[in-house]
Symmetry: none
Subunit: 238 residues, 2 copies
Amino acid sequence: MRAKILLVEDDASLIELVTYNLEKEGFDVVRTGDGEEALTLAEEEKPDLVILDWMIANLSGIEVCRRLRRAPATANLPIVMLTARGDEADRIRGLETGADDYMTKPFSPRELVARIRAVLRRLRPALQGGALEFAGIAMDTTAHRVTRDGRTVQLGPTEFRLLRHFLEHPGRVFSREQLLDAVWGRDVYVEQRTVDVHIRRLRKAVNAGPNGEELPDLIRTVRSAGYSLDAVPAMQAA
Amino acid sequence: MRAKILLVEDDASLIELVTYNLEKEGFDVVRTGDGEEALTLAEEEKPDLVILDWMIANLSGIEVCRRLRRAPATANLPIVMLTARGDEADRIRGLETGADDYMTKPFSPRELVARIRAVLRRLRPALQGGALEFAGIAMDTTAHRVTRDGRTVQLGPTEFRLLRHFLEHPGRVFSREQLLDAVWGRDVYVEQRTVDVHIRRLRKAVNAGPNGEELPDLIRTVRSAGYSLDAVPAMQAA
DNA sequence: CGGTTTCGTGACGCTTTTGTTACAGCGCCT
DNA sequence: AGGCGCTGTAACAAAAGCGTCACGAAACCG
């Protein structure tokens, strides 16, 4: 999942510099140089993090920070202040107003990215390790939650591990033996056909549509080889 | 609740300076100048945050940071690096190794405190004396009061700590072992099934409605994984 | 086109995991 | 001392998930 960042800054050359570096690192960037608009965008764009300059039009960065914290919808939004005001008093004021980090200009773009990552690592764990996603199937391993096109999918422990294994290696074909090793454990010994049954259960759960509908099957059977999770639904014979 | 901070630093005058400022601000301080000992203390003292110097005896600060992150018991422990190594490359390395913030010497003690507060505010909300709230459950950690949709909920000490832990990490699944570590303490050893009983007591108290009614259960059981506090009540099959 | 192999599917005991209740011990307060 | 609230453990009940089998369908092969 890509993280979206709201950049609130009015210096054109800085906007370009920061945007370039963030996009290079895989972030989506939304920009504004206006304090009032920043508040609106923070609600509407639902960014994962805000970078705030102090001196901007209409509302100071510190005031934007305060209002973001006060509004329930954005009270939890990660904020990094990035400003020329580098006095001790300013830094402390920024942090105490609710900023999660505070950097002063001039700054290193790479350090900015590192600090953003550090903040997101704590506050949006789903963006880091815990999230797997492929072909409309999303898995949050820390919350133990799976969704298909937004609808939550109910899985038993074994199906969960099985799906995770597929999501970790999308497109790759695994033999029943490999799956038993990876999902059940190297020492456990069960019939290979057991895999079939769990594939069946996994398919049933993942392909269940809104009501009684069937969604396209993303688990491909490779005859005499095994199974794989695949973005392209199997072809149809009319 | 007072927060406990582990200060890993070997310069005597700095130790004094930092300790003085932290204690003045209401933190408990545990100190060591030794990298190996830092790891031990991080486990045994259960600090709420670690301040790490880079140049210390036995293990470098960066290595201590890496090992703390790797050990499950301390993987989540907030870390602030405080060091003379201020190159861009060092800062980035520190942050990418898992530090939550990175300050360089010389530094302002008041800024250090502000940054520590900023980190703790996010990672240990309960320490700020503030209110925790999630999905209609509100907890005032200082007054030791809990309400569900406005009605006050009566909890025993253990259930209170258990709920607080869930509120601090909403949505996340914890194994019984993790809960015992976090809520009972790392050194206490009780049966894992004890957790089940307290979950039961917590559910009973939190889900008690106006008269004899049952409110939707917000504590989700994740079979063979643990429990989590969750906004979405489990779905029903008719 | 039969024969053969491989896979899909539903049913069914069995085991594991969790829910629930009861109880005995402990510390604390009056 | 007695009562009271809280805790951890055990024991039993309920639920959920698991692995295997049997049979039919589909794919493959000559």
